[in-house]
């Protein structure tokens, strides 16, 4: 795993010291809120609906056991005993007091963590495939590249005041688990005909008010050109992006307004200019970083006990069926730990649960954990021989839910339970849907299903790319939920279509149930997923299920 160098350590400590001083000056009255706000945001500190919220960066979602334990300690000492893992592979603490935040940042720095660039109009935390370095289908581990981009973008003087925030995602697998096409820049690692490594670069993706999928701006960018090319894209955006209208300031609008061809020409011109300035230091650094991401020495343990346990124990078998993914080593598996127990808050883990996960990582999984954008925790490398013990320990901690990829594995943003920007709540909708389908005992019959919920148009809950997306809005003084259908977050990315008028808070769960029952009745067989059935049948039969009265009126 990558470890902070002395330079990183000194940089983070200096930042904490600066922020400690800034907080003291705010409390003494030397700084006004207008002066202080950009400073606190640069350090991940928001003021939300009920309290301050501290967003901590987890670069490309990778954590060690020691780091996870420190998050547990912070949750207990300075918060309310839990943390919220987000769709940006970060963690948020919902209740810190202002005067405690410098101490929290110091505690983070003790384990090589920080909250820098988790807010503001800069290059945000770089995200990556949560199965990186482990997945059987991977071409190469995307994290060294993500780390290189993190180092390049941290405090980059030219890109600290962009027109708007900027998000980069990297995947090293043809099966895109990092939603790259919904990012300002998406990088897909490839090899060309001669086997040389490079990237397909897409630009201008983003959800939010104007959802757009990224368009390919360079089908194959040689690896050596990565940083100068990124710099050329950022320069072009920095100069051409709109600063007059916050809602038109993201690069997706710049690309849309200028057209991809014109934008690309400008990028290529700048790229040709700056490429000679990159003389190989970036390449040398990448090689160093790569060495730090060398895979663990995989233990060779017999898998017979695992097979026997699976044959014997139904609960373990069910969990294996949903929560394991193929590892590149046949005698290992990737374990996804569900933070979606039916009725729980998606993405939340208590301090005790964090410690259980940290202990398991240390004992059985080479000291590595990941945060997925789907708000679960991943143990990327687990010898199959250890899986029964891992499952037992998880189940004892309330972490053994066998529902990954199913209808209760819902992404939900904090919504109006926490977020100051929200127009409606998300969490109770997720809780109620999960509980409803658990009560119906239909979840396994339904099969693969992605429900994603956002509490406002900003779409942190990725609702546009949910098979079923739910967007919470306000209508006539009450919460109203709009449904979108047919979204897809994978390499076949698609933006869902709006189904029709919204539903009140107490109508949304029954509406989802009608929709899902319609799918069960309409599907060609148990192997046809909701998304496949929607693509085959189109929206009409699903709309009819959502709006039965309208369907009756039309038939009359």
């Amino acid at each position: 795993m990558y470890r902070y160098s002395d330079f990183d350590e000194a940089f983070v400590r200096a930042r904490v010291a600066q922020f400690r001083d800034q907080v003291a000056r705010r409390l003494s009255g030397a700084l006004t809120e207008d002066e202080f706000k950009p400073l606190r945001l640069m350090n991940g500190l928001y003021l939300q609906l009920h309290a301050y919220m501290l967003r901590v960066a987890i670069p490309y979602g990778t954590l060690s056991a020691r780091q996870m334990r420190q998050l547990a300690l912070i949750a207990e000492r300075w918060d309310k005993g839990y943390g919220h893992f987000t769709t940006r592979q970060n963690v948020q603490f919902n209740w810190p007091r202002l005067q405690d935040v410098p101490d929290i940042l110091d505690a983070l720095a003790d384990v090589g963590m920080h909250a820098i660039q988790t807010s503001g109009n800069c290059i945000r935390n770089v995200t990556a495939d949560h199965f990186a370095g482990a997945a059987a289908d991977e071409i190469a581990d995307p994290r060294p590249v993500a780390e290189l981009i993190r180092q390049w973008s941290t405090d980059h003087p030219e890109f600290s005041f962009l027109p708007r925030k900027f998000k980069i995602a990297v995947t090293g697998s043809p099966n895109d688990r990092a939603v790259t096409r919904a990012h300002d820049i998406g990088l897909r690692m490839l090899r060309d005909g001669s086997g040389a490594a490079g990237f397909e670069v897409s630009v201008g993706g983003g959800l939010g008010r104007t959802p757009m999928l990224g368009q390919v701006i360079r089908p194959f960018l040689p690896e050596a050109d990565l940083l100068p090319y990124l710099e050329a894209v950022l320069q072009t955006y920095n100069a051409a992006g709109r600063r007059d209208n916050k809602y038109k300031a993201r690069i997706k609008i710049t690309v849309f307004e200028h057209g991809l061809a014109a934008f690309r020409d400008e990028v290529e011109t700048r790229f040709a200019e700056i490429r000679p300035e990159f003389r190989g230091a970036d390449r040398a650094l990448l090689a160093e970083i790569r060495a730090a991401f060398a895979p663990p020495a995989f233990a060779r343990l017999p898998v017979g006990g695992f097979e026997a346990a699976r044959a014997r124990d139904g609960a373990f078998r069910a969990w294996c069926a949903t929560n394991l993914a193929p590892h590149r080593e046949g005698d290992h598996a990737i374990v996804t730990i569900s933070l979606k127990a039916h009725g729980a808050t998606p993405g939340d883990a208590t301090a005790a649960q964090m410690r259980v996960m940290a202990d398991l990582a240390e004992r059985y999984a080479y000291d590595e954990l990941r945060v997925s954008h789907e708000q679960n925790i991943v143990l990327p490398h687990v010898p199959k021989a250890h899986l029964p013990a891992v499952f037992d320990a998880l189940a004892a901690a309330g972490l053994g839910t066998a529902n990954i990829g199913l209808i209760s594995d819902i992404i939900a943003c904090p919504g109006m339970d926490y977020c100051a920007l929200a127009t409606a709540r998300s969490i109770p909708v997720a809780q109620a849907i999960a509980q409803r389908f658990a009560a119906l005992d239909l979840e396994h019959a339904i099969g693969p299903m992605k429900i994603k919920i956002s509490g406002c148009i900003n779409a942190c809950g990725h609702h546009h790319v949910g098979h079923i997306g739910i967007l919470g809005l306000e209508k006539a003084g009450v919460e109203s939920y709009q449904i979108t259908l047919g979204g897809d977050a994978t390499e076949l990315a698609a933006i869902g279509e709006r189904a029709g008028p919204g539903f009140a808070h107490d109508e949304i769960v029954p509406a989802i149930e009608r929709l899902v029952r319609a799918y069960l009745a309409l599907r060609a067989g148990p192997d046809e997923t909701f998304l496949a059935a929607f693509r085959r049948l189109g929206p009409a039969p699903f709309r009819a299920a959502l709006y039965p009265e309208e369907a009756r009126r039309d038939a009359a």
């Binding site: 009255g29 609906l49 007091r97 109006m416 969490i427």
Partner: protein, 100 residues
């Protein structure tokens, strides 16, 4: 004819804790909306907001929120204000924890 003025409370976030506070008639900040001053006159509301804006060392982001007179004091009107006065719906945290 001018539209009827909807009564208001002055609300903000506490600078130190970050939690929700309301302005009382005797110039204190309370954590219980029922203790807040219900302002029924538009000009007076502006004055009270100015007073709140003059306390940047105590509160952040004061604003006027619609409220109505309830049996125990002012009550929030909009659901967002109701959530601020109560706390999140997934855990018994926030104001509901204090009131029990």
């Amino acid at each position: 004819m001018s539209r009827r003025f909807t009564p208001k409370v002055v609300t903000a976030s506490d600078l130190r804790q970050g939690d929700v506070v309301w302005l009382t008639a005797d110039d204190r900040w309370t954590r219980d909306i029922a203790e807040a001053e219900l302002v029924e006159d538009e000009a007076h509301a502006e004055l009270r907001l100015l007073f709140a804006l003059g306390q940047p060392q105590t509160v952040v982001g004061p604003y006027l929120a619609d409220a109505r007179r309830g049996p125990n004091g002012p009550e929030p009107m909009h659901f967002r204000e109701a959530f601020r006065a109560r706390g999140p719906s997934n855990y018994p945290h926030g104001k509901q924890a204090v009131r029990g």
